[in-house]
């Protein structure tokens, strides 16, 4: 008997595909908001904005330092307790059971990835030469304008490979959301696998799906890197 029953795996493909929307929703929502927060946080750190700089150092440390699972639990178990408390104290009538687990996932994943993206942007913004900002200011731009029009577009090119890492990491990390009842690719795979202990088959199916999704995004990131980086005379290999 062969270890992997391919026929079984093929049969289950459509079922597992049903998890794709949840995976994509969490990854894309978290990525987009994470991008925005990440940039803002990195700027607070680069410009050493008094209180915020300290705050975000701790924030980044905390978010990166504790397991994502724990962060999910904090919202999943914490919010209902908080709502119950509110209901008692000020007589509101929130029903925690009505909140879709997806919402907890959105919040937790966004907060989580923001911390990582803040570090990505801190490094890529610092890689842009200071002269670029001076030039922007010399033509009368405000710092904000200079950041938006000159610095960030250049920093983005540097950041892209790392953003790719983060996004693909995010896609795979959505499987953790099963711990708060979000049923995505890996969750479905596990549920099916349990019946006949066909873990290998189902992991194969899940991996393929993850791979295809991520691969599409890999292509996208590579394309974007080329497109956005066209202005640069890039240091290439050792040719000449």
């Amino acid at each position: 008997m062969s270890i992997i029953n391919l026929e079984f795996a093929l049969e289950q493909f459509p079922e597992v595909l049903k998890g794709v929307p949840a995976t994509l929703a969490i990854a894309v929502v978290a990525m987009i908001f994470g991008l925005i927060f990440g940039i803002l946080i990195s700027l607070c750190r680069i410009y050493k904005i008094p209180v915020l700089n300290r705050f975000f150092i701790v924030y980044i440390s905390f978010i990166r330092g504790t397991p994502l699972l724990v962060q999910l639990y904090v919202f999943f178990y914490g919010v209902p307790v908080l709502l119950d408390f509110l209901n008692e104290q000020i007589g509101t009538n929130f029903d925690a059971a009505q909140i879709s687990p997806l919402i907890y996932a959105f919040i937790a994943y966004t907060l989580n990835t923001s911390a990582y993206q803040a570090e990505i942007f801190r490094s890529s913004i610092n890689a842009v030469s200071a002269g670029q900002m001076e030039a922007a200011q010399s033509v009368g731009m405000t710092t904000a304008q200079g950041l938006r029009r000159i610095i960030l577009p250049q920093a983005f090119v540097v950041a892209l490979p790392n953003l790719g890492n983060t996004f693909i990491g995010l896609i795979k990390a959505t499987s953790l959301a099963f711990a708060v009842k979000v049923v995505e690719i890996m969750a479905i795979a596990k549920i099916i696998a349990n019946d006949g202990y066909r873990f290998l088959e189902m992991y194969l199916v899940a991996s393929l799906i993850y791979w295809v999704i991520s691969w599409v995004f890999e292509l996208f990131f590579a394309w974007a890197e080329n497109k956005l980086g066209r202005h640069e005379e890039r240091i290439e290999g050792n040719a000449a």
Binding site: G131, A135, S138, V139, G140, T143, I150, Q154, H231
Partner: protein, 250 residues
Amino acid sequence: MIKLKNINKKFNKNHVLKGIDLDVEKGDVLVIVGPSGSGKTTLLRCINYLERPDEGSISIEGFTVEGKYPSKRDVLELRRKTAMVFQNYNLFKNKTVLENVMEGLIVAKKMPKKEAREISASLLEKVGLAEKVDEFPSQLSGGQQQRVGIARALALNPSVILFDEPTSALDPEMVGEVLAIIKQIANEGITMVVVTHEIDFAREVANRVVFMDGGHIIEQGTPEEVLIHPKHERTQRFLKRLVKEPDYAI
């Protein structure tokens, strides 16, 4: 027009500007000459607060900014009165030649794109770059980049233009063009401060010359006074090399 009072600037322990006072009249072309490392670039950068002086005040058209920690709004206003040509060009790497020139017009001056494009294209033609408008800075030769920098500053049409060695990468032909342009806009009443080490160029373009050394202004006056009949011994020594070898001069 421009009034600098007691400008002091230190980099750590290196005291680079030691109480500079300077007045420039409207429409003046003030040339600053001096040995390498004497603080010319630093002084220029202080005028639009790219470098914050430790002490002193700067006024342009009666608008004064003072001290090391002025408000952002004041600094922005000061900068909008000036434009700058950098010693190392500092073009926007992610923008084409044309966009480099348009950028300030669109963003800081809120000019409509079409108008900005026309102004920029015509200036780029003036400096001989009509063919290069769609290239990125990384694809240009040194002199071409410098000319983009000049066009970028001119396009803004500010009250004051600060030039940091604007002809260092230019051949004699091009130097002639730039000279003509500077003279022309001086006639339009724009004030210019030019740092240069090309004494020939200085003589032709300046109506006032300042000689700096070691963070001090040593001598100032007309080009004649400073560059041909310098009074101060340091200035004489600085200019000596050119005078000493007359057989090569034309």
